[in-house]
């Protein structure tokens, strides 16, 4: 099997789920974004910040460079919703969602099919020799599922 076909399968799913989430963010008002997905659960705005922060972490993990928004990690990954005050406005977070995914695509577009099967930065060369599935493409499979999980929750915000 041509590596390019496998890469297309995985990247088509990624782009499809990014588009679905982007359409949801666009359809939600700021007020809806600030409500909880279910009583006592995360607010939409927290999940927006969380997904931006997780996708931003993909930059170093895939060897693309430093995180662009490291200040989001403590608020939207380390801590639960409302433990820390949002420091970015809702409009700013809406823009950062677009920015981080555009930055990822910019780097994706420069990769060959074979590049996707090289190791990501969180696995050692020794472990990768024994576990070659721990490659960059596998990160995309896992992060697409992470995005789908939260998109199922975000969809509950639309009245």
């Amino acid at each position: 099997m041509d590596n390019a076909i496998m890469v297309k399968m995985v990247m088509d799913a990624w782009h499809s789920k990014i588009d679905a989430a982007s359409n949801l963010w666009d359809a939600l008002t700021d007020e809806e974004l600030h409500s909880e997905v279910a009583p006592g659960r995360n607010r939409g705005i927290y999940l927006l910040g969380h997904l931006i922060a997780v996708h931003d972490h993909m930059l170093p993990l895939l060897g693309f460079g430093e995180q662009a928004y490291p200040q989001l990690t403590e608020i939207y990954i380390t801590n639960a919703d409302r433990a820390k005050t949002d420091t970015a406005t809702t409009a700013e977070l809406r823009q950062l969602w677009k920015n981080v995914n555009a930055t990822l695509v910019h780097h994706f577009d420069k990769m060959s099919s074979d590049d996707w099967f090289t190791k990501h930065t969180a696995v050692s060369a020794e472990d990768f020799a024994k576990e070659p599935h721990r490659n960059k493409l596998n990160i995309i499979i896992n992060r697409t599922n992470h995005l789908s999980y939260h998109t199922g929750q975000i969809a509950l915000l639309k009245k």
Copy 2:
């Protein structure tokens, strides 16, 4: 790249998400399963029936045989929650979830890595010649994301 590595990446994600959903069903009481994931939205029991029915449809789609539970399609796929009366008990649905996924694994275990890159039954031979990414493994990628989407909602039921 060895096809077996790609198959492992996709199947590891599938099994991981099946396990996560199974753990959630086991952790939820019948009463929790009968509550809505958010006010006015699907009940947990509907999502359980929906996932069983969608996974059951994978049997013909992957060429494994007929659906085992065709009676679930109308209640849990064609219609929205509460449009039709549940005909199976909660205990029965809990068991069907295990059955359908065990049946899938039984068939998965008989497939070679190369088998996964053959066409699924919803694409014609002509289209598959032009679009070889429309293979059986791609069904698993997409159904894993579908499962993740609803698992994010089911997780909201646990008090």
